[in-house]
Symmetry: C2
Subunit: 457 residues, 2 copies
């Protein structure tokens, strides 16, 4: 096609870049590992423009790679089949805040941090809280992002009440709305959530918000071994203590982040830690939940239970938790993995990573969401020669995904599949599931122009 | 086809009924309004049998109508295209209770009441609680059943972690699992939930359970008008008082149920009531939440706030609430409606039903889930002559669904669409949504043999 036709659609000529005008960052994602190529980059500002771009692409069989803030970790925004990059970062408005239906309606380019601040300033709360606060909401929805607070509040899926979606041929689909319950026909909204831009382009989202909890405290528990820590988590959940987040991490990962940030972690006993938060409106409620957890922990070989009440202590501790990956990356290239296993198999899976470290001679840092079995691993290159690293890390990753599968887990809890995890995902997923996903893809995108070759497609 | 071929599949000949051997109840649903016809009725006992029956039906282009306990209200189990009725009520086993992953794995024919009792006896809790406790879990999943406790705990969809589904051609699809998070390919599990047997036959479900709350209390608040009551609900939710259920009902409906049950409702002031429950482990937590609600209510013109602490009072009150529809039906035929609107439009919708009552000369009782905008109406025949009733009630229903649509609502919050609501659903749903639902149907069931003509199909 003649890409100059895009200038007939987009009024402001500055919002169309062709060929070599396309900045490098638009050809990759946050990890900047794979680099695609593209003929055109379009910054759309409204649904109509998105629709017109899609219509043009559809008529000309041109691949379209949608992108938001570009913070993805799996290569889903890499335009590896060339064509058009459709950037939605300028569609970042908060369209409506409706206090009576507890909803906020936003455009997809809005950053999570902006949404959180906006609603919290008004006494409300948007619970999903993935680590990357500068991710766009469209990206959060496209990957069904999870994050720390999923234990108590659930994941992004649980907060998406309605979607406006532009389909491959440019038509516009409205799904859900401000209603809480729905038993009216097929649930296409949940099909779009987590589909990584392969079924349609999200141009508007109605999100659920809740009243903001007035208080929050954190607690840190140390153990001799990670296994003891993770076993304790199941006992904590059985106690109905309602924690907001339950994270696990090991001493060496913490020490690395301490060095990186030049900050001191508030606990030095033991080799593994469980970090929890509790939120609510009433002090006695939170205190009571903390007490339940302390009792359960001390009964299960905890070495120390530290209640973090001061804002400064809480912030410092979570800053260290938040910087674990960055601290690893400051030292070496790493491959991030977010395999999810049934909650009681986390310890088995982590134990296997120790075996795999020895077998493959590659260091693996592990930490993650102990409250939901979503294990984060950094597979660390540590200066290994490129060819060897490529070979060995691939074999190691295959072994890790296979083990996750054996434990009845899934390859991704919150990052998505994209390009990087696709081979592993394909290997362990039932053929019939892939076949039906592809058939559904053809329903929405018969020409296969929407983010082709990503995930199952 | 030769229906005697079914005897080659089903070992126990007693589990296949042909032609006139088929009992009347298998040709309809709980309302017994529409009556279909069928060539064969099969009681399957395992996934393999379901698969073989589907394969036979697929090869011979025979419609299959799946059914569980037959408690549906919208005609989804009426075999109106003849063919085979596939009854799953004998597949009613609890296959596994896994305390470490907080899951229970069940067959679809298990009744809700049996599941609830089983897990509660073991200190756990299955929160979805639709009014009909003898519904089957398969039916609950197929309609995404909601119920009273949705305000705090969500609906059936939020508790389905994994599904085994037999497809139209007899192949078996496994979706989800015991993992809490999932960002691994398209979410086909949520597509099956609420699909009313049009995409596949659910043969196994992994359900999420939670620790059982130790205490529960109820509170009853009276108002001069329903509008004041419903307006108060939004203020209660803003207070973060975390009620489990918030129901509304009017005096005349209560009085009818009092007469029917010969029981006394614990409040006689006012014309409208809000009935709430609170649950949790700690008395002070529940007391504090009740206090918040009492303050909010009295500030909003509540006449009386009655805390129900005694088990006998709580049971009696909820027995009356639970019998509202039965009490109406004891007096007259009625048409049940469960339109859902944004929570702040419930009062507007109810106000419209009063207008509609006058305009159409047909009595409408209203009650329902004030905490989530799911309004239940009984449109009451009251001895009206058949032809007139058929004509007028159809026009009234059209007006009600249209009004719900104008208020940005949806035709069903929890009952589903089935056969009875199909014309209204088709009328108010965007053509493009129906088109995509039908295309998805063809992915799973190209021959259109699975519960044909129900809902969108």
């Amino acid at each position: 096609m003649n890409y100059n036709d895009l200038f007939n659609i987009i009024e402001d000529k500055e919002r169309v870049k062709l060929g070599s005008e396309i900045g490098d960052k638009y050809l990759s994602d946050a990890l900047n590992r794979d680099k695609g190529k593209a003929e055109a980059l379009v910054f759309a500002v409204n649904t109509e423009e998105v629709s017109k771009v899609m219509k043009l692409a559809y008529e000309n069989n041109i691949p379209v790679t949608p992108r938001g803030a570009g913070t993805g970790l799996v290569g889903a925004t890499v335009p590896h089949k060339s064509g058009i990059i459709l950037d939605l970062s300028l569609m970042n408005n908060i369209l409506e805040m409706d206090e009576n239906t507890f909803t906020v309606t936003v455009e997809p380019g809005l950053h999570l941090v902006q949404l959180q601040k906006f609603v919290e300033d008004r006494g409300f709360f948007y619970p999903p809280d993935p680590g990357e606060k500068n991710a766009s909401i469209g990206g959060n929805i496209s990957t069904n992002a999870g994050g720390m607070r999923a234990v108590k509040y659930g994941v992004t899926r649980n907060y998406v009440m309605g979607l406006e979606v532009v389909l491959a041929d440019g038509s516009v689909l409205n799904l859900g709305g401000k209603v809480i319950k729905n038993s009216s026909g097929l649930d296409m909204k949940d099909l779009i959530i987590g589909s990584e831009g392969t079924l349609g382009i999200i141009t508007k989202a109605i999100l659920k918000i809740i009243p903001k909890p007035q208080r929050t405290v954190s607690a840190l528990i140390s153990f001799n071994s990670l296994k003891e820590g993770i076993d304790t988590v199941i006992k904590i959940i059985k106690k109905n203590a309602n924690p907001t987040a339950i994270e696990f991490m090991e001493k060496d990962v913490i020490e690395n982040a301490e060095r990186f940030l030049e900050l001191k972690f508030p606990c030095s006993t033991g080799n593994a830690y469980i970090l929890l938060t509790f939120d609510g409106d009433e002090e006695f409620e939170i205190e009571n939940n903390c007490k339940k957890v302390e009792e359960a922990a001390l009964k299960n070989n905890a070495l120390e239970f530290i209640l973090l009440r001061e804002k400064e202590d809480i912030e410092r501790t979570w800053r260290i938790r938040g910087a674990l990956v960055t601290a690893v990356e400051a030292v070496s290239e790493q491959e991030p993995i977010d395999i999810v296993v049934p909650i009681d198999r986390s310890a088995d899976f982590i134990a296997y990573t120790k075996e795999a470290e020895r077998e493959f001679g590659i260091k693996i840092s592990s930490f993650g969401h102990a409250g939901d079995g979503n294990v984060h691993l950094c597979v660390i290159r540590n200066g290994m020669e490129e060819k060897l690293w490529n070979e060995k890390s691939k074999l190691l990753l295959e072994a890790l995904y296979k083990k996750g599968h054996q434990l009845k887990g899934l390859p991704s809890g919150e990052h998505g599949i994209g390009l990087h995890k696709r081979p592993y995902f394909m290997e362990i997923t039932d053929k019939i599931n892939i076949e039906y996903m592809r058939r559904i893809k053809r329903v929405f995108d018969e020409k296969g122009i929407l983010n082709p070759g990503k995930s199952y497609s």
